[in-house]
């Protein structure tokens, strides 16, 4: 396990533990007995359709919303019991949490003052997030990308061990998303715990180490990303798929013949597939790795569970389900 934190307080100081977390608003069960853990030094994607309960869960973790039952702790403590919260946990919740008449830099200075953090840290962060000049203008005129960067800077004010980011890629352009991806990986390599929510699996697939998928407030799947992706396969085009399947079986590799005459071998070792085909005297016209289709998998896990659809409650600017399916060419986090 990669739980080296390099900080006093031990490896447990950055572990997030959600246990039986439940929140009801009247009759509506927003979060329903959720249990999962988030490990230090790893990026964990917190996924689910809009309205699945992600934001409510994160707000309970941060002590902003009171759980109906269950607990959410960071390093074994509820958020409100952290002695210096900004130096333990950094959170970027929504890209709109700024007073339009206050400059981005002053927004950070307000936070720094509340956390007892020196002002020079504010200017360091503006450099780090690439917005030192723009941050002196009033926040009312900021683009979505600027707001996201400022939100990230605000989360990092106390140089926290744990980062909680709610949809940080929303509104970023491809260049911004690439920057964010590198930035998060850098932070994770420092041993930080990073929990990042998204309603699109493909958006975070390249970045996250672990995934927690929820739907209707319930846990659907939690584990390492590789586990979700399943066994890697190899797609082979050859002249006689059945013959190659037989040859592979001898080499202890299962495979299945596809309708179009190609063969999917249940191994990611393409060299092995090629060698077997050569020994069997079968030509190879094409050989490429085949991974599980994450998009299909994600929708099969969360399908038909978007309880917000139809009541017009989806946030403005959020991609709809249709966009998600067709948006394959879009920039991925």
């Amino acid at each position: 396990m990669t739980t080296t934190t390099g900080r006093p307080g031990g490896a447990d100081s950055g572990r997030i533990e959600i246990t039986g977390l439940t929140k009801t608003f009247g009759q509506f069960v927003a979060v329903d007995g959720l249990t999962f853990g988030v490990e230090p030094g790893r990026i964990t994607g917190f996924l689910g359709p809009n309205g699945a309960g992600k934001t409510t869960t994160l707000r309970m973790l941060l002590g902003l919303v009171r759980p109906t039952s269950g607990t959410a702790t960071i390093g074994g403590r509820p958020y409100a019991d952290l002695p210096r919260p900004l130096e333990s946990v950094g959170a970027a919740l929504e890209a709109t949490n700024f007073h339009p008449g206050r400059s981005g830099r002053d927004h950070l200075r307000v936070l720094a003052a509340a956390g007892g953090i020196p002002d020079r840290r504010v200017d360091e962060l503006l450099e780090l997030t690439g917005i030192p000049a723009a941050a002196r203008k009033r926040a009312g005129g900021y683009s979505m990308g600027m707001r996201q960067r400022l939100g990230l800077a605000a989360a990092l004010v106390g140089d926290p061990q744990v980062l909680v980011l709610d949809e940080p890629a929303n509104g970023l352009d491809p260049e911004g998303i690439r920057w964010l991806r590198g930035f998060l990986k850098h932070l994770a390599s420092e041993g930080k715990t990073i929990l990042v929510s998204s309603h699109l699996l493909q958006e975070v697939a390249q970045t996250v180490d672990d995934v927690v998928i929820i739907a209707n407030g319930r846990l659907v799947q939690a584990g390492p990303m590789e586990e979700l992706e399943g066994t890697p396969g190899s797609l082979v085009q050859t002249s006689d798929a059945a013959a190659l399947a037989g040859a592979l079986r001898v080499a202890d590799v299962t495979s299945s013949v596809q309708e179009d005459g190609s063969l999917v071998a249940d191994t990611g070792d393409m060299r092995l597939v090629g060698d077997v085909a050569l020994r069997a005297g079968l030509p190879i016209y094409g050989l490429r790795p085949q991974r599980a289709d994450l998009e299909t998998l994600y929708f099969s896990l969360t399908e038909g569970t978007n309880r917000n659809l139809g009541d017009g409650a989806a946030p403005v600017g959020a991609p709809t389900e249709g966009d998600a399916v067709t948006g394959q060419e879009g920039a991925n986090l």
Binding site: L64, V65, A80, V89, A154
Partner: protein
């Protein structure tokens, strides 16, 4: 607690609101001092007729120096509403409670900051009113500083502004829509309350036992302003201070209690 208070001061002084308010409060102080300085020393005022504002030299001077408060406390009421209302409106309240998750501490920091802001604006108002007012009183051959009571009045006017800011804080929490909170707060203080006071004057029990406990009447009692007529029943200055503090404590207290329990979504 001290970091949270510093943060509240920064919130206030990093938007343009503060200097606009400072100019308004200075001008109001100076203008009302000039206006009252001439009106209260006019022949009519000295005649002592019924319905004409009257008072001794100390009350006249107090009224001149604190005349701008009638505008000033509305501005501080507004500041109090905005100090919490803009946090709801722009959702910065999440950040505030993330930095200070002990919400009672975060809200008490607002109380301390608003009392401080009230005192600062009180000083700004007094700089305008005392400089102009003393000159006008001098021109009318009146004693500009007839007694030591004046000093008490001036000091208490700083407290008055802070307490009105706390009333605003309470209103700003109890009415989460910022615009509605402002309209209702200012409307009640400036229109509804005087109307109630006027109505009370026709009802003996109300005139003698209720009217003096209205917030504006209590404010006038604290700063020892001239009375509007011989019938007016008025609290002692400390009684007025206690009444206004009670309003501030109840409104801000209920608001803070609600805030410490609410879900921030």
């Amino acid at each position: 607690m001290i970091p949270a208070v510093r943060s509240e001061f920064r919130k206030f002084f990093t938007t343009r609101l503060w200097w606009g308010m400072a100019i308004a409060i200075f001008v109001a102080g100076a203008a009302f001092a000039a206006l009252f300085g001439f009106l209260l020393t006019s022949e009519t005022a000295r005649s002592g007729e019924a319905g004409v504002p009257t008072g001794d030299a100390t009350q006249v001077a107090s009224s001149v120096y604190t005349g701008g408060l009638s505008i000033g406390y509305l501005l501080l009421l507004t500041i109090g509403v905005l100090q919490i209302g803009s946090e709801y409106r722009h959702k910065t309240i999440s950040g505030t409670f993330l930095a200070t998750p002990r919400r009672l501490r975060a809200m008490l920091a607002k109380v301390v900051a608003l009392l401080g802001i009230g005192a600062v604006y009180g000083l700004v108002s007094l700089v305008g009113s005392v400089s102009v007012g003393a000159v006008v009183l001098g021109l009318r051959d009146q004693d500009a500083f007839p007694s030591g009571t004046i000093v008490r009045t001036l000091a208490l006017s700083l407290l008055v502004l802070g307490l009105w800011a706390l009333i605003g804080l309470g209103i700003g929490i109890l009415i989460p829509n910022q615009v509605a909170a402002l309209l209702i707060g200012v409307g009640v203080a400036w229109i509804v309350e005087p109307l109630i006071g006027f109505a009370m004057s026709f009802w003996e029990f109300g005139r003698e036992h209720v009217a003096q406990f209205l917030p504006t009447s209590a404010t006038n009692a604290i700063v020892n302003a001239v009375s509007n007529g011989p019938d007016e029943v008025r609290l002692e200055w400390w009684g007025g201070a206690l009444v206004l503090a009670a309003y501030a404590a109840v409104l801000a207290g209920i608001g803070i209690w609600r805030t410490t329990r609410a879900d921030i979504a």
